[in-house]
């Protein structure tokens, strides 16, 4: 079973995404801040990471940086809210984010993206 890590401070959203991904047969871990996120990268060896840009204590950029250091092959999907600065999004891509999903988003669509990235 593939592991997916979700770093998102809105618990309802992360639970909802977890529910959707569980249906597709993934093993999903959810955490709600950046520090826990980094720990989870070390402990759960995720096959894919979904992270919000604005999370407590760290930001998505730092998560990408860290994850790339630990294992450069893990794909990362960045969730971002409206009003996020373009520069952040650009930075996320330059650092190696695999995909970018702006909020509001469709969980079914996110699930398809996850599937595609993991199968590649």
């Amino acid at each position: 079973m593939k592991n997916v890590l979700i770093i998102e401070d809105d618990k309802l959203i992360s639970s909802l995404v977890r529910f959707r991904l569980n249906k597709d047969g993934y093993n999903v871990t959810t955490v709600d801040d950046g520090i826990k996120g980094m720990n989870a990268i070390d402990t759960t060896n995720p096959d894919l990471i979904i992270t919000d840009v604005m999370i407590p204590f760290k930001n998505g950029i730092e998560i990408i940086n860290y994850s790339k250091k630990v294992n450069p092959n893990v794909p990362i999907i960045v969730l971002s809210s409206l009003g996020e600065e373009e520069s952040t999004v650009m930075e996320a891509f330059t650092l190696g984010a695999s995909d970018f999903v702006p909020k509001p988003f469709n969980p079914n669509e996110l699930a398809i993206r996850v599937q595609r990235l993991i199968n590649n």
Partner: protein
């Protein structure tokens, strides 16, 4: 040994102390209630604020952050970097090197690819000579301006920064403060919200960072400091920020915004001529002068306050440094009140003249004097065996319990509003400090306050004439600048 006069004097003094303590207790009870109301409203308002929108909206005001630095070489680069990463779109960071004797300038130049520029600014506020203004050749540091100037003190450095600044709002902060990334949006909000009044300044809460775990500009784990003095300051900061300033904001009578974290309307600051470098209480003096200006111009205005935890600083835990800080604060208070004595009990100045000013002069300024007279009086009563000593002892017990009550409340406020200090041991140790404070720390505060009075009388600073006469109008400060320039030219 006794004489009629002496006896009557003793009686009158006794009654005076009673009334004084009564007034203090009533005032603090009012403050408790007012601040509770204001806090409730603030928390309710926060539910309806979308701060993310403020970051990018074209309507948001632009902000110049001014951070003076003196011999901060060890941390200046890191601090400048964290200021540049704050969440906001229209802002600039002006770091003013106040003639540091260390390698601050070299470090800044190397870290940010700075070059000297011919930046032309309007020297509308007098300040020490600016040696050079640097900008970065690297576009990702475009928001940074580095000003190198002759040493002139914090207020002088801020004045230089104000001259160079170009934005709507100026944010004066201590360079070693830790700012939360959302601090600018939250502090900008009061400026954006008022419809009928001009917001001239907004103050923020300072948190005690000692012992807290800090990661990338945010406090991740709140712990109380180890030392008694450190813990005491945690409580004191709760008391003064969450209770005192909230209550003053409720009645729009706020007279002090912390110099470590204050936001000002640039236009008004320029109108009154910026900071007054001659006083040690420049932060309080500026607010009083700005308010006074608005009153004299008859423009409706407001001084706002944001109680969210957004800024943290290391407080001094050594007795020596703390005593100097308190001495300075006391002198600053006396000087400010003295300079603006014209507004005292003057109905023309509204809440400022009728409530804030008298409160400050009766409680904040005179408290150490009244308290020490009270103690001497009680001792005298006990020694001579006069039975009125019983009253005084009762009074002291009363005041003790009152102090404990108020301090406990301030902790409860923090718990209700933010609940940042979650560790039970920490809370218990804070409670212990509350019980001990009136015996162990408060007497020292009184002593340092008295020392401040004494130093003021001795005329530390040496600008006695102006302080004796005071400002006749808020805009008089510019005349002082001119005289200063003339003096320095002669």
């Amino acid at each position: 040994m006794y004489s009629l006069l002496f006896d009557i004097l003793i009686e009158i003094l006794g009654i005076m102390f009673l009334l004084y303590s009564f007034c203090i207790i009533v005032s603090y009870l009012i403050i408790t209630v007012l601040s509770a109301l204001e806090m409730r409203d603030h928390l309710r308002k926060n539910k309806f604020a979308d701060y993310l929108d403020v970051v990018t909206s074209p309507v948001s005001p632009s902000i110049s952050i001014i951070a003076p630095a003196y011999n901060e070489g060890l941390s200046i680069v890191q601090n400048a970097k964290s200021l540049l990463t704050l969440h906001y779109s229209k802002f600039e960071v002006i770091i003013v090197n106040d003639g540091s004797k260390d390698d601050s300038v070299e470090k800044m130049i190397a870290s940010f690819d700075l070059v000297k520029t011919d930046f032309a600014f309007n020297p509308s506020i007098a300040c020490k000579e600016i040696r050079a203004i640097y900008k970065s050749t690297n576009r990702s540091f475009a928001k940074l301006t580095f000003v190198d100037k002759e040493n002139g003190g914090k207020a002088d450095a801020l004045n230089a920064g104000i001259n160079v600044s170009t934005m709507d709002i100026i944010a004066c902060i201590d360079v070693d403060c830790i700012l939360s990334s959302g601090s600018l949006t939250r502090m900008a909000r009061p400026f954006m919200e008022e419809t009928n009044r001009k917001v001239i300044a907004v103050g923020g809460v300072i948190g005690v960072a000692n012992n807290c775990e800090v990661k990338d500009g945010t406090v991740t784990d709140y712990r109380v400091p180890d030392t008694l003095l450190g813990k005491f300051q945690v409580i004191e900061y709760f008391r003064s920020f969450l209770m005192g300033r909230m209550a003053w904001t409720r009645i729009n009578g706020l007279m002090l915004i912390s110099g470590a974290f204050g936001f000002f309307n640039r236009e008004v600051v320029l109108k009154v001529g910026g900071y007054l470098p001659q006083t040690v209480g420049e932060d309080m003096e500026l607010i009083v002068r700005m308010r006074r200006y608005m009153e004299e111009e008859n423009v409706p205005y407001k001084v706002g306050f944001v109680p969210d935890p957004l800024c943290w600083t290391e407080v001094p835990e050594s007795e020596e440094i703390l005593s100097r800080q308190r001495n300075r604060w006391m002198r600053g208070t006396i000087e400010t009140l003295q300079l603006h004595k014209k507004i005292a009990m003057n109905p023309k100045y509204g809440v400022l003249g009728m409530v804030s000013y008298p409160f400050w002069s009766i409680y904040e300024k005179s408290a150490p004097i009244m308290e020490s007279i009270g103690v001497l009086y009680t001792l005298a009563m006990i020694i001579t065996g006069d039975f009125s000593a019983i009253y005084l002892v009762a009074l002291f017990v009363l005041i003790y319990f009152f102090a404990v009550l108020i301090s406990s409340f301030s902790i409860l406020y923090e718990q209700l509003a933010y609940n940042n200090y979650k560790n039970k041991d920490d809370l218990r140790s804070l409670l212990k400090v509350i019980l001990l404070e009136p015996f162990i720390i408060h007497p020292r505060m009184v002593l340092w306050g008295l020392k401040g009075h004494w130093d003021f009388l001795k005329g530390k600073g040496g600008w006695g004439v102006m302080i004796r006469s005071g400002f006749k109008k808020a805009v008089d400060k510019q005349d002082v600048d001119k005289q200063e320039v003339e003096v320095s030219q002669n």
